[in-house]
């Protein structure tokens, strides 16, 4: 009975994901595609939960659906303000369809060709007690494959610098993003005061719990970024300008601490990014906290966009 229900749920979920994915690529209009993309991300997060990959589900919901969705909505708003052509020419964009189809075919082929991994891999199970943390995902991200995570944090920074290059010369010293007009005492102003305390708690908890339970720097950092954005939208805090030293420090804190830990490992433990067994837990928590600060600030600044003075763009 339970197995049949589970199967029915999974089948319905797969059908929904496919249907929504189709609506993203085949529907008319950019706005509609963005909305369906957000729904797609949430459904994908549910699918990850069904696969017992709660870490991935959290990341997909927070970053895949939430943050990317907001970024796409912001891009849509910018296109509309610039009165750029909203709807692409009618007819099939064959090159994009071909590229997407080829990628899907390659992934499908890989799925059938590659051996099904034994979980959670005998090597991982053997190495986990020495990693310093109980959550195998955190152990892989920050200890066994720390190199990947370090580069990811730097890529994020590069993306932000790319966005800032869009700023006009005259706006350089203006606050990031567009000026916000929340009515004082209005709904948004109230929301922006009620939500941040709860969001702060949830974000910090996600980072702290990430050592032994699902969670971590990216999930917690995204929640914290959202808290900051709500506060900015509500007019509770004012975004800084690009050159504010404290905020620039927050942006590079994560990669810098990560790099320093890596170099310390090279000097003391015999390899770049090697964490000695006794120090693994405090080192991972320190790196995670620093990364969280940088990820939160970078993501929030990415959504805010380049500085735009009143009346521009």
């Amino acid at each position: 009975m339970t197995a049949a229900l589970g199967l029915a749920l999974d089948a319905a979920l797969c059908a929904l994901i496919l249907g929504v994915a189709l609506a993203v690529v085949a529907g008319r209009g950019v706005f509609r595609a963005v909305v369906f993309f957000i729904v797609y991300g949430l459904l994908a997060a549910v699918a990850w939960v069904r696969l017992d990959a709660v870490n991935v589900a959290l990341a997909e919901a927070a970053i895949g659906a939430g943050l990317t969705g907001v970024l796409l909505l912001a891009a849509h708003g910018r296109l509309r303000r610039a009165e750029a052509a909203q709807d692409l020419a009618h007819g099939m964009p064959w090159s994009a369809a071909l590229a997407g189809g080829a990628l899907a075919a390659a992934l499908g082929w890989a799925w059938f060709e590659m051996p099904i991994p034994v979980e959670p891999g005998p090597e991982l199970a053997e190495a986990l007690p020495r990693a310093g943390v109980g959550n195998p995902v955190t152990a892989v991200l920050l200890n066994f494959r720390a190199w990947d995570t370090l580069l990811e944090s730097i890529v994020l920074l590069a993306a932000l610098i790319g966005v800032w290059m869009l700023a006009r010369e005259g706006d350089w010293r203006e606050p990031l993003g567009r000026p916000q007009h929340a009515r004082p005492g209005g709904v948004m102003a109230g929301f922006g005061r009620v939500l941040p305390p709860v969001g702060l708690l949830v974000g910090v908890w996600l980072v702290w719990a990430g050592a032994d339970h699902p969670g971590g720097a990216f999930q917690g950092g995204t929640v914290l970024a959202a808290v900051g954005l709500v506060a900015v939208l509500a007019g509770v805090i004012r975004p800084p300008w690009i050159g504010a030293p404290l905020w620039q420090g927050a942006l590079v804190l994560g990669p810098a601490v990560f790099l320093l830990a890596g170099i310390a490992g090279a000097v003391l433990a015999g390899g770049f990014l090697t964490l000695p067994e006794g120090f693994a837990k405090p080192a991972i928590v320190t790196i995670e906290v620093a990364l969280t600060v940088s990820i939160a600030v970078t993501l929030a600044f990415l959504v805010l966009g380049p500085p735009e003075a009143e009346g521009a763009g």
Partner: protein, 94 residues
């Protein structure tokens, strides 16, 4: 007993969700659609949260489920107001 309560309350919640969805599709303008969506869905989510709470293993879990419901209420209420204001401004009022 707990399973029966879960079934009953989640089923009731689904009825409200279905009603809200019908309202969203059938009602003529943005404001009445928002009315149908936020009120019915908030109640529906409340019943589903109540039903799921019967499966919780500790009071801490019940508290977390309740917190999720309260946050969803807060977000839905605030967003409904903002959408309504945007619709009003587009129409040329306010």
């Amino acid at each position: 007993m707990a399973d029966l309560a879960t079934l009953l309350f989640t089923a009731l919640g689904l009825v409200f969700f279905a009603a809200g969805t019908v309202g969203l599709i059938r009602f003529p303008d943005t404001f009445s659609r928002l009315h149908a969506l936020t009120k019915a869905d908030n109640l529906g989510l409340g019943f589903i949260a109540l039903g799921v709470a019967f499966q919780a293993e500790s009071w801490a879990q019940v508290a977390r489920i309740a917190l999720i419901w309260v946050l969803a209420l807060l977000a839905a209420g605030a967003v409904a107001q903002l959408v309504a204001r945007a619709a009003l401004m587009r129409r040329g009022g306010a």
